[in-house]
Amino acid sequence: MTSKTIKVDYIARVEGEGALYIKLDKNRVEELQLRIFEPPRFFEAFLEGRDFREAPDITARICGICPVAYLMSACHAMEWITGDHPDGAIRELRRLLYCGEWIESHVLHIYMLHAPDFLGYPDAITLAKDHPELVKRALRLKKIGNQLMTVLGGREIHPINIKVGGFYKAPTRARLEALVPDLEWALEAAKETVRVVAGLPFPDFEQDYDFMALHHPDEYPFNEGRLVSSAGLDLGIEDYDNTLIEEHVAHSTSLHSNTPGGSPVHLGPLARYALNRDRLHPGARQAADAVGLGEVVSNPFKSIIVRAVEVVYAVEEALRIIRAYNPPAEPALAVTPRAGTGYGATEAPRGICYHRYTINAEGIIENAKIVAPTSVNQSMIESDLREYVQPRMDLPEDQLRYECEQAIRNYDPCISCSCHFLDLTVERT
């Protein structure tokens, strides 16, 4: 074959604006770029000069689908500086809030954004015509995630009840217990989801990934943990900046991140699962075993199964927390600023969301750094696509384009989240 170019001008069913450009020359992929042209959003710069207590609410606006990741990473980073560590019921409520976000986000992605790819539908609306039972299950499951967000966060999008030190108001026992029947239904529905998505047709595509995720001694990770990788890293999150180095590439408004050696890492469900499988609750582990999911999943298309396993986990964890819940004496710890630098890393549905802040003695933010998981996954997506396209270069162009889009959606990318430069240089001639 001679050279040809494949372009996807707007990648559908992902958050934000991105495009794909592939230049094929004879028998090789000459150039491949995941082009992110979403305008940069300057969040880090907005934060400079603001009070440290404002960081959670400001950064939550980076994303409508994973605000909890931003709220939590910002709170933990600030509490690192103030030396406060909410535990007991406050800590449990934070995990419960994260359960809500994972359920809501994962269910949306599994059923509405990713399943149509495997089943050959252009979108969830056409899927619903032939498979109404799938979409109805998705809506009911998603609603339970919404309810958790509403009870804990005050509303389903952009929660308003979270602050450095804890919550403005803690829910009553009765309010949480009212969710139990729906969660019990959700547990079965989530297990059924694992069975259904495990039966989808998957391309044969295994990759040797360097997975990176948080790792906690007792829990599947949401809010806390050490930074570990399948290459053997085991570091405190304060070492993040030496572990993943950000760099600007011309074709993306979202900074790329690679190891100091220049290689990409893989964040998100596959990484969490590979590095924390033994921390799953029994139901989630059994659901994974029942469909023959190995200890490490290295086919990125199968991330849809791992997401479903994580929904089972999130429902089990929500039930565990609610059943043991006693409201905290105070909904939040009183926090007092002091000068310093703090770090927060939590597991957004798409992978580690990292925040670093420096504040002065008055609590004013002097410097901020935020890295969204999609930024980090960009290089990995490009690497997957290069490997995926190479042996499939002779596929009809439409088919290849379609499969490439599906491969991008393996990462549930949140492009809007990933675009926030600190520096903007304008060159004029």
Binding site: V14, E17, I65, L108, A128, P132, V135, L139, R155, S416
Partner: protein
């Protein structure tokens, strides 16, 4: 006839608050057999809200390029809802998708009317711009006439 009026929008974003403003004005009229609520616009929550209703009226700001204050009235029974009308996120599942998904699932309420009010300013702030404030009066008048005409019978 069990009727539901839903105002969608963010009242801290100038004209984006037009949906909730209209809903509250209509609520003050205490129309018979009519519930009024405010929603964020998240699609799954909307589908859940309107599940039991026989007639649903939605009010939301739109940005389609027409002059601020232009009122669009869409009847979901007879037309598909253009996605770009109510798009506030490429990922979240919003009003247009909720209507089309409900149609695909055969879960549309028997009557679903959408009033889209063209916004002018979506900046931070609680004030509606003058043409949008004028559109509020128009929509309240049209809807109360429409609802008054549908007798709230015992059905």
């Amino acid at each position: 006839m069990n009727r539901l009026l839903i105002g969608i929008g963010n009242r801290f974003r100038s004209d984006d608050g037009v949906g909730p403003v209209i809903a509250e004005r209509l609520e003050a009229l205490a129309l018979p057999a009519t519930r009024v609520c405010i929603a964020s616009g998240e699609g799954a929550a909307l589908m859940d809200l309107w599940r039991e209703a026989e007639a649903v009226y939605l009010f939301d700001a739109v940005s389609s390029g027409k002059a601020a204050g232009t009122v669009h009235r869409l009847d979901a029974a007879s037309q598909t809802i253009p996605q770009e009308f109510f798009h506030y996120s490429t990922h979240a599942f919003s009003l247009a998708e909720a209507v089309e998904l409900a149609r695909a699932l055969d879960e549309l309420p028997p009557r679903l009317i959408i009033y889209g009010i063209e916004g002018g300013s979506f900046r931070a702030g609680r004030e509606l711009s003058p043409p949008v404030a004028a559109a509020v009066d128009e929509v309240v008048e049209r809807v109360s006439a429409e609802l008054g005409a549908t007798a709230p019978d015992a059905g």
